[in-house]
């Protein structure tokens, strides 16, 4: 059965383990993970083109426990039990950012990036639609059309549709997920794969036969797409992204999400024309059993 969709995953665990490991990314609030920043920054002149890495933390994080408005008296009055302490007042006090906002202490790895000025936070921004359904709320986040369910494509795909392609590449947009996320569904072509190595035929001896069939096909659509597919397989094989190993001390967690990020970095370095990448992490659903500094 469609396992991922229908079973609960141990996602609260994922989230906690991920916080504990200190590797943390929150694009919806403007974060990029430190190890990814380091690897991308170190990738050299090949990688000057800007890339957008969209990370969807599925669920609903409480932004006030991530970036805490500790300087606001109302915050403490309205959250008598789950408010985080002011900086340096308690063991779980926030890490000051600007005298008013502070990081959740579990986000300490981000503090130096913030101090360097390489991090921006867009606070208190979310969907204006007040649906009680997390399903619909996430759907709206991905289509970026709150309140309109029938939007056929996702915002990231629409971005690709209007953005000038830097070059023709099957790997212009890649989701490191088993299925194409709603965000990336649409007219612009994109590839979804949970492992880079999956983009290829399971039996390489079959490449020649299939490639010949599609190259000779009178069917224009399948002929064109077939050629692209085999070109892409060759590109990926010769670029061999797996030969790029983390540099600058980056240690990717072994979780599916950590490995997705690692592969995004590898695709970046392999210079296969990546412009947009997508990864996701479940478990950002904090309204039940919500704590404060432990999430």
């Amino acid at each position: 059965m469609p396992r991922r969709g229908l079973e609960e995953t141990p996602d609260m665990l994922n989230r906690r383990a991920f916080l504990r490991d200190g590797a943390f990314a929150l694009v919806s609030l403007g974060f990029a993970p430190s190890f990814l920043q380091r690897t991308v920054a170190a990738a050299g002149p090949r990688s000057r083109d800007k890339r957008l890495i969209a990370i969807f933390q599925r669920g609903a994080v409480d932004g006030l426990s991530v970036i805490v408005p500790y300087g606001e008296a109302e915050y403490h009055r309205l959250r008598p039990t789950i408010a985080l302490g002011r900086p340096r007042t308690t063991a779980d006090g926030v890490l000051d950012m600007d005298g008013f906002f502070g990081f959740n202490p579990r986000l300490s790895p981000l503090a130096p990036i913030w101090r360097r000025g390489d991090l921006a936070v867009v606070h208190a921004c979310g969907s204006p639609d007040s649906t009680r359904s997390h399903f619909d709320a996430q759907d709206y986040m991905e289509t970026a059309t709150p309140g309109v369910k029938s939007t056929p494509d996702g915002w990231l795909n629409r971005y690709l549709q209007v953005r000038h392609a830097e070059r023709e590449s099957a790997f212009r947009a890649v989701a490191l997920t088993p299925q194409m996320p709603r965000m990336l569904q649409g007219r612009a072509s994109a590839v979804a794969m949970s492992q880079i190595a999956q983009f290829g035929l399971r039996s390489e001896s079959m490449n020649e036969g299939f490639e010949a069939q599609y190259a000779a096909a009178a069917d224009r659509v399948l002929n064109g797409t077939g050629r692209e597919a085999f070109d892409a397989m060759k590109t990926l094989k010769s670029a061999d992204p797996s030969r790029y190993q983390p540099e600058n001390g980056a240690a990717y967690p072994q979780s599916a999400f950590g490995q997705a990020l690692k592969q995004i970095a590898q695709l970046s370095k392999a210079d296969v024309g990546l412009e947009v990448a997508f990864a996701e992490l479940g478990g950002w659903d904090t309204h039940v059993n919500q704590g404060s500094s432990q999430g």
């Binding site: 469609p2 996602d11 997390h134 299939f210 000779a216």
Partner: protein
């Protein structure tokens, strides 16, 4: 178009069909009316006659379907009501989880215990998932083995038209009943009956939020209403891990007024009936939504049925598409709306276009759509009459539309299984293959359903995946599925085969590889 292109390139070769125009027509009919020809089907339809075959398929009740009944014998949940499924599968799993959490909390452990890495093996979860697993399996088994093929094609079509995603909260245990009792019985009945059945189905009421839509001025505002709670999580992943909600955790939520929810009203007009250009306004959407206030679910957490709740209903006058619905109509308001919109010419046209797109071509000929729409109107939406017009039309039987449709992933997988005469002992690996192919069964997120056009399904990643599914299937690496070796693999393609495809198949190193090359070929991606 393909046939013409091949002819001009001078590469037409007799495959299973050959140059015999009759066999090409027969194959075309099998490709569209069924999920693809099985070994022997071509001979059978030619012996019977294409016209008689079509007539037979239009009357599924006359076709013996005991083979598929037998194959579905061992399934435990297909005959259960939503309420039984909730009682036997959903609620026990949730209670067990709640109890475990309670004990762990009492023992001072974290509320969310580490789960085993292989969560799929958690028996509690497996049990709760059984209804959805079986539902997806039966879809494949029916599509492959049922002799009532048109009924299965149409059940797929109409479920997709009235799409509900299993991942939205309790919808997942409502879908067995939804497909079985709401969709399948009506696919060759009257459109109004099908529409009415979906409108009152808990699955649709839940999926498009109508169950919680209320007259904002109504008397219900100060009442705590059982079952009206915050539901589920987005991807459906964390939902079952939580205890059954008792009361809203946040007092603000408890006081939050119930409002008018227009989601069902909007999709009803845009997707189910009139179509986006069907001539309605936002005002109509609001009026329709007002008419449906109070159409709710008895107890959504427990698989309850439709209930009309007068306290939620806006009993004022409504005007829908210029038709006045008098004040005080109560539950009847919704039925009046369905009567009005089912009779609109744009509905006849929208439904006819969509059916013609499925059976004829991505851009179906106007003349055919007009003829179907006119029959739709004359017969008050008799879908069998509309389908008869479609399947006996010259546009449908024209050689020009042979193989112009790209198979969607489901059609690709099922037609592969049928072409090879595969024997399915366990359909779960096939259900997983549908995920890999980007078309997870019963999990299409938007209410639009999956799109029925070539551009949706043709892209580099999708083609690679299809070739891989062909390889896995024919090499015996799909556990639970046995694919017998075919003596003449080029016949699997069904119909004309290009020189190149034929020669790559001939040069294959083994029987299974030759079969993979047939199923993964460009020709086989079309129907």
């Amino acid at each position: 178009m393909l046939a013409i292109a091949l002819a001009s390139a001078g590469v037409i070769h007799p495959g299973a069909a050959g140059k015999d125009p009759d066999s090409n027509v027969a194959l075309h009919v099998l490709n569209r009316v069924t999920f693809g020809p099985r070994p022997g089907d071509l001979a059978r339809i030619q012996q019977l006659g294409v016209d008689r075959f079509i007539d037979q398929q239009l009357h599924p009740e006359r076709i013996d379907d005991s083979e598929v009944t037998r194959r579905l014998d061992g399934f435990q949940t297909l005959h259960l009501s939503s309420s039984d499924i909730a009682q036997r599968y959903e609620i026990p799993a949730l209670q067990e989880r709640r109890e475990r959490q309670r004990q762990q909390t009492a023992a001072g452990k974290p509320a969310d215990p580490p789960s085993p890495p292989d969560a799929a093996m958690d028996p509690e979860r497996q049990r709760a998932n059984l209804p959805m697993i079986e539902l997806a399996e039966q879809k494949i088994v029916r599509a492959v083995y049922s002799d009532r093929q048109l009924q299965e094609v149409l059940t797929d079509f109409w479920f997709n038209h009235f799409n509900v995603d299993a991942r939205k909260g309790p919808a997942r245990y409502m879908l067995t009943e939804y497909e079985r009792d709401v969709i399948r019985p009506h696919v060759l009945g009257h459109f109004r009956d099908l529409l009415g059945a979906t409108a009152k189905s808990p699955a649709m009421l839940f999926y498009l939020d109508n169950w919680m839509s209320a007259d904002p001025k109504g008397p219900h505002l100060d009442r705590a209403r059982p079952g009206m709670r915050r539901f589920g999580t987005g991807s459906g992943q964390a939902r079952a891990g939580r205890p059954l909600p008792s009361a809203p955790a946040n007092p603000q939520q408890a006081r939050r007024p119930m409002g008018l929810n227009e989601n069902y009203g909007r999709e009803l007009l845009e997707l189910h009936t009139l179509g986006v250009d069907g001539g309605y306004t936002q005002k109509d959407v609001t009026e329709v939504a007002r008419a449906f206030t109070g159409w709710t679910i008895e107890n959504p957490r427990r698989g309850g049925g439709f209930r009309f709740a007068p306290a939620l209903h806006d009993d004022g006058e409504k005007v829908v598409l210029g038709h006045r619905i008098k004040a005080g109509g109560g539950e009847r308001d919704g039925e009046d709306v369905l009567d009005i919109i089912a009779a609109q010419p744009s509905t006849a046209r929208f439904i006819s276009t969509k059916l013609a797109r499925r059976f004829v071509s991505d851009n179906p000929p106007d003349a055919l759509v007009n003829q179907m729409a006119s029959t739709f109107r004359k017969t008050d939406g008799d879908l069998r009459a509309v389908m008869t017009v479609l399947l006996t039309s010259k546009e449908f039987l024209s050689p020009e539309v042979e193989r112009v449709k790209i198979k969607n992933p489901f059609e690709f997988v099922v037609s592969s299984l049928r072409a090879t005469g595969a024997s399915i002992e366990d359909a779960r690996p096939l259900v997983r293959a549908m995920q890999q192919l980007g078309m997870p069964l019963y999990q299409c997120q938007p209410p639009t359903g999956y799109k029925d056009s070539a551009d949706t399904w043709v892209n580099t990643g999708a083609l690679v995946n299809r070739m891989n599914v062909a390889l896995t299937l024919t090499s015996g690496r799909t556990p639970g599925v046995t694919v017998p070796v075919t003596t003449d693999p080029a016949t699997l393609v069904g119909g004309n085969v290009s020189d190149t495809t034929r020669s790559t198949i001939a040069k294959a190193q083994s029987g299974p590889q030759a079969m993979a090359l047939a199923l993964g070929s460009p020709e086989f991606q079309r129907r």
